[in-house]
């Protein structure tokens, strides 16, 4: 009697993450492509010399091809609620517009706040969505909606974009973690990001220059000793798995080899290793260094980098504080966009500038603006996104969306579609059927290239 058909996939398939067309190379053949095709956990060259991401793992031709097709995500999270009126959707001279002017950008007819002069010069690479209505003015729920594409509901949690993309797009053999969150004072693994995808796809928080915890070899453990003890470990594994190999044992054994590679390149997390001229271009303040670090990590093949900029929750003195915060943001952000474009990386990198919500058109007695989810903006650029487009409109004084209202669901669908993924599909190889995007969402077609 045949075994009954089960809907869940064999456990042995679960850890082969490559599902997208660009990544049909399985890990087995990746390993086989190494040095002579011996399968198993031996990575003899691990730790010797400098190994930079995929390019030294496999033959150069394949490396170039993969690198060219590898897609990345760069998320700027403006923590606290960036004011759309002081950034992407200014309304100068109105009762809600505040004191700042609007300035022309590199896209004729498109104006943004005078607080973003350098960004204005990159406008031809960016697109704006000015008609976001998430109806959410709570920090936590707002962040969840904009990052996971689903409203926060009790008992349910969905993966953030970075975790989803790390799961769906990160190359199986990569030594670098798939998703890193750069934030001042950051450290640790953010398991909540990955939800049911599991901690492997969670973001790892780092601060500038400081690698993830325990990445550096402790004093007293020489590199040579580390190599020999790992040789012992591999030998033990070879014996054990000779007649017991599963995807799990392979994943576990291989993770040590990946870590060894990463240890050799621990300085990939250290932005001070960039040339001094580059460090100067980006600036010595936190956000500037974070942008440079993001560029460094993306160049090395990291799949998703999220940079948080704090803080925008300006219930008091909104204008003074936006001068200060956007003053920090504008130039390094514009520099990074330009650099990505110059290096040919912008086409394969999806860039988002998002926040939990926007800020009220109404100016309160403390010259502040409060939480506002009803009519605000996000900016996007790069992979799969139109250039210089403006989607949607708010009314004259920004108190309501006038055209093309969208929310977190549509945006999430759009992020995925821009990367060449189908948000209506279920996550592959998951032990229950869960669609990637909210079934009630639709991508914003006019935003997609």
């Amino acid at each position: 009697m045949p075994f009954p058909k089960t809907t869940e996939t064999l456990m042995s398939d679960r850890n082969y993450a490559c599902q997208s067309p660009e990544h049909r190379i399985s890990r087995r053949s990746l390993l086989a492509g190494l040095l002579g095709g011996s399968l198993g956990t031996g990575l003899v060259d691990a730790g010797l010399g400098h190994i930079a991401g995929l390019s030294h793992l496999i033959r150069p031709a394949v490396a170039g091809e993969l690198a060219a097709r590898q897609k990345r995500v760069l998320v700027f999270f403006m923590a606290g609620g960036l004011s759309q009126l002081e950034s992407w959707d200014p309304k100068p001279g109105t009762d809600t517009g505040g004191p700042f002017r609007a300035i022309p950008t590199s896209v004729p007819g498109v104006h943004i706040s005078e607080l973003l002069p350098y960004t204005a010069q990159q406008m031809h690479r960016l697109s704006l969505v000015r008609s976001v209505n998430t109806k959410e003015d709570d920090h936590g729920k707002g962040a969840i909606f904009i990052e996971t594409g689903r409203r926060d509901m009790p008992g349910q949690r969905f993966p953030t974009l970075g975790s989803a993309v790390s799961r769906l797009l990160a190359p199986a053999g990569a030594a670098l973690p798939g998703y890193v969150h750069i934030q001042p004072g950051g450290a640790g693994v953010n398991k909540a990001d990955a939800a049911f995808l599991g901690p492997k796809f969670a973001s790892i928080s780092i601060d500038n220059g400081k690698p993830p915890a325990d990445l550096l070899r402790p004093d007293g453990l020489s590199p040579a000793a580390d190599l020999t003890r790992n040789e012992l470990r591999r030998k033990a594994n070879q014996r054990f798995t000779a007649r017991r190999r599963t995807a799990d044992t392979e994943a576990y054994g291989y993770s040590y080899d990946q870590a060894l590679q990463l240890m050799e390149r621990a300085d990939v997390f250290d932005v001070t290793k960039e040339p001094a001229a580059e460090q100067e271009r980006y600036g010595s303040h936190d956000f500037g260094r974070h942008c440079l670090l993001a560029r460094r990590l993306l160049e090395q093949g990291m799949t998703c980098v999220k940079v948080s900029h704090s803080n925008y929750d300006t219930h008091f003195e909104n204008f003074d504080f936006h001068i200060e915060q956007l003053g920090e943001f504008d130039r390094p952000f514009a520099t990074l966009i330009d650099d990505l474009a110059q290096r040919g990386m912008l086409e394969t990198t999806l860039v988002l500038v998002i926040s939990e919500f926007g800020r009220t058109p109404n100016i309160n007695p403390g010259l502040g603006r409060d939480h506002w989810g009803s009519a605000w903006s996000v900016a996007m650029a790069g992979c799969g996104i139109q250039k210089g487009a403006v989607i949607g409109k708010t009314n004259d004084n920004g108190t309501a969306v006038a055209e093309r209202e969208v929310d977190g669901r549509h945006l999430f669908h759009t992020y995925l579609a821009a990367l060449g993924l189908d948000p209506k599909e279920n996550y592959p190889n998951l032990n229950r059927p869960i669609p990637i995007g909210d079934p009630a969402g639709e991508k914003i077609n006019e935003l997609l290239a």
């Binding site: 004191p99 704090s310 219930h315 003195e317």
Partner: protein, 355 residues
């Protein structure tokens, strides 16, 4: 209202005469006597030397001129953004106002119908935060977000001098009553004393109690929101917010910091007996020797009267709304206060007539 002897007209080149001995103002009897309604939150208020007009800046592009004792309201148009800094020319006919695009405008404010500015200057990159007149009415000082203090000829707006050295936004500027000296205060509470003969900063006073870098929100809050010299030049007062525990919610206390000008020492931190959560937006000296300040915050608006030697006010008056600026009428009895609720209010400190 009590009788006031008129101030004799003075030629502009001489410093104004001290006001004739007024009826004694009694702060404890302060009361509202008039309201002027605008259509946007007010931001600034100044009374002209003749006492006929109050001019206000608001969260719009206009300078409004109100008749103190009448109903007329004129709008002076010529700015491109909000006006917070303004000053009347002592012994002259000009009002100078600065806006948040950096533009300085000079107005013959008494003209009717209202005339466009006599001249406008792009005085600063970014906001003009304050405007002050020299006691002789010849020079205008402005300061702003480009970290500069600049001096201009009042007559034609010609630039006279640039005073550089501040390392953050300059919030306020004031001339010493003696004439040759200027004080400016920046975001971090650095007060520079400038010798105008040389254009050099000769010393620094420390008002950093008014400044805080909030590590949670990673932003600075501070600055002298109000600044004034006593008429005899002995004291310098700066006002703002202190002990900020949450910059983005404005949780901190309104205070006035008082310096002995001669020694440069901080002598007092004046604050309401029960801490007032908010900002002391403006401060002014009364010729009789007491200090007045207004504040706005979570608890609404308040008007405080201090003596220089006592940290707590000798009188507090609750205002109907958040207050952003304060100007003393030349009669020494009335106060014009600019409020957030679009309203300019006039208050009277004269002893109430016997019933």
């Amino acid at each position: 209202m009590a009788e006031v002897q008129p101030t004799p007209a003075q030629p502009p080149s001489q410093p104004p005469a001290p006001p004739a001995a007024p009826v004694m103002a009694d702060p404890t009897q302060v009361r509202q006597v008039k309201e002027f309604k605008h259509n946007r939150p007010l931001f600034a208020a100044r009374v002209d030397p003749s006492g006929r007009f109050v001019c206000t800046g608001a969260q719009d592009k206009l300078v409004a001129r109100w008749d103190v004792d009448g109903d007329k309201k004129l709008e002076l148009a010529g700015h491109e953004s909000w006006v917070r800094g303004m000053a009347f020319q002592p012994g002259g006919e000009l009002l100078l106002s600065g806006d948040y695009t950096g533009r300085l405008a000079a107005w013959r404010y008494a003209a009717e119908p209202p005339q466009p500015p006599v001249y406008t200057i792009e005085a600063h990159k970014g906001w003009v935060r304050a405007v002050a007149f020299s006691p002789d009415g010849a020079t205008v000082a402005t300061c702003g977000n480009d970290k500069l203090v600049r001096l201009w000829s009042a007559a034609d707006g010609k630039p006279l001098r640039e005073l550089a050295g501040h390392e953050s936004h300059v919030y306020n500027v004031a001339f010493h009553p003696s004439g040759g000296h200027l004080a400016s205060c920046d975001l971090k509470g650095v007060v520079k004393h400038w010798d105008l003969a040389t254009g050099m900063a000769v010393r620094q006073l420390d008002a950093s109690v008014l400044w805080k870098y909030d590590p949670t929100f990673k932003a600075d809050i501070g600055g002298a929101r109000g600044m004034a010299f006593s008429p005899d030049g002995a004291w310098l007062a700066t006002s703002g917010i202190t002990e900020v525990s949450n910059a983005f919610a404005g949780i901190g206390f309104a205070v006035v910091v008082l310096f002995d000008w001669a020694s440069g020492e901080r002598k007092q931190v004046l604050r309401p007996k029960e801490n007032f959560q908010g900002v002391a937006w403006a401060v002014a000296f009364h010729p009789a020797g007491f200090i007045m300040a207004v504040g706005g915050g979570g608890g609404g608006g308040a008007l405080w009267f201090f003596k220089p030697d006592q940290p707590n006010p000798f009188f507090e008056f609750k205002l109907p709304n958040n207050a952003r600026d304060l100007a003393l009428h030349p009669d020494g009895l009335r106060l014009a206060i600019a409020h957030f609720d679009n309203t300019l209010r006039l208050y009277d400190m004269s002893p109430k007539p016997a019933a």
